[in-house]
Symmetry: C2
Subunit: 202 residues, 2 copies
């Protein structure tokens, strides 16, 4: 599927076919694409919990104001970030460069994140959100639709997925087979309010 | 360009042709696609400052440890977020739905963001980072390459682009014509460390 077509046709879908099952091959293909999302210093700090188990989906729905997408989707991908990714053998993130470059970059990684816990969380939000966008576009190209979601109790969700406390939940994306087309776009801000030239306000 | 090809071929490029100029039509096409990136409650809280002016690019390079991408790219897109977007006539974000639905959603928007300043900043990070990913893939499909960047002084950058203080800088993306292919991927984390099933650790 063409990139611009995917960007234009991607819409947040609320009604999925609850009977549809994604194959393991489809889930693998999707997540392999998502793992190509760039990260700062290549620390690959995103983590993904792909929920297909009906009980877990129901618990997420209970934590998400009973929104039907949680259970009717085929896969609910909870996107997380590891605040300690920067420190988990960072040399491996630069395994394929010469040793001097590797050593220099590892030093920069430790310098940047080592003393700034807030930067670790921000990076989780950046990497996880970029990954969410890759996921939505790749799913669209595979014939699926998606719904990005922040409307759930993050603490409850962390309990449901048994998330390690060094991690943050960023958002979730429901992936499934749409039962009906999305409605008209609900209201767009004019482009000249969003896009400025050279300086803000221009 | 195929979505999966764009995801696989997108790499962070450091060497751009400084003589290449993007046309206004190309910049518009790119930013129109970026503005289709989803946002929570459709608040469209991302803002973009597209820098093509050489003096501004040089100032950004000075604020970014002299990295050549800042000046050699054709367009440097500084991605920002408006912490007040949620409160700026939110009914327009839902103009195309029935009045009762619109009123209900506007109430939810005010309820969610009105008392939680930290949620406004998090949403800026989410929306802006998703937009960055759309930008990188759309640029790739247009024959351009990109480099996502956080390695610059955000406070200095805010001054350069004269950013309104109610806004956050999220990151920047350099867009240009690559002068040489990207190197081999520098080191990838195994997929089974990134992707878990139903619960974290599984």
């Amino acid at each position: 599927m063409d990139v611009f077509a995917a960007i234009e046709d991607r819409r947040s879908v609320k009604k999925f076919d609850p009977a549809h099952v994604m194959t393991e091959e489809e889930i693998s293909r999707l997540m392999e694409a998502v793992a190509l999302t760039p990260t700062s210093f290549n620390i690959q700090n995103y983590r993904f919990v792909v929920i297909t188990d009906p009980d877990s989906k129901q618990k997420m729905r209970d934590a998400g104001w009973n929104q039907a997408q949680f259970t009717d989707c085929s896969a609910l991908v909870v996107i997380c970030g590891d605040r300690q990714a920067y420190a988990k053998d960072p040399a491996r993130y630069w395994a394929n460069v010469d040793p001097n470059t590797r050593e220099a970059i590892v030093g920069m990684i430790e310098g940047y994140y080592g003393t700034r816990p807030e930067a670790r969380r921000d990076e989780n939000l950046r990497s996880g959100s970029m990954a969410a966008m890759t996921l939505m576009l790749a799913a669209k190209a595979m014939g699926y639709d998606t719904c990005p979601m922040v409307g759930f109790d993050f603490d409850a969700a962390a309990g449901i997925i048994e998330l390690d406390p060094e991690h943050d939940i960023i958002m979730a994306v429901a992936v499934g087979m749409a039962l009906e087309p999305a409605r008209e776009r609900s209201g767009r801000v004019p482009l000249d309010e969003l896009v400025h030239r050279d300086r803000f306000g221009a």
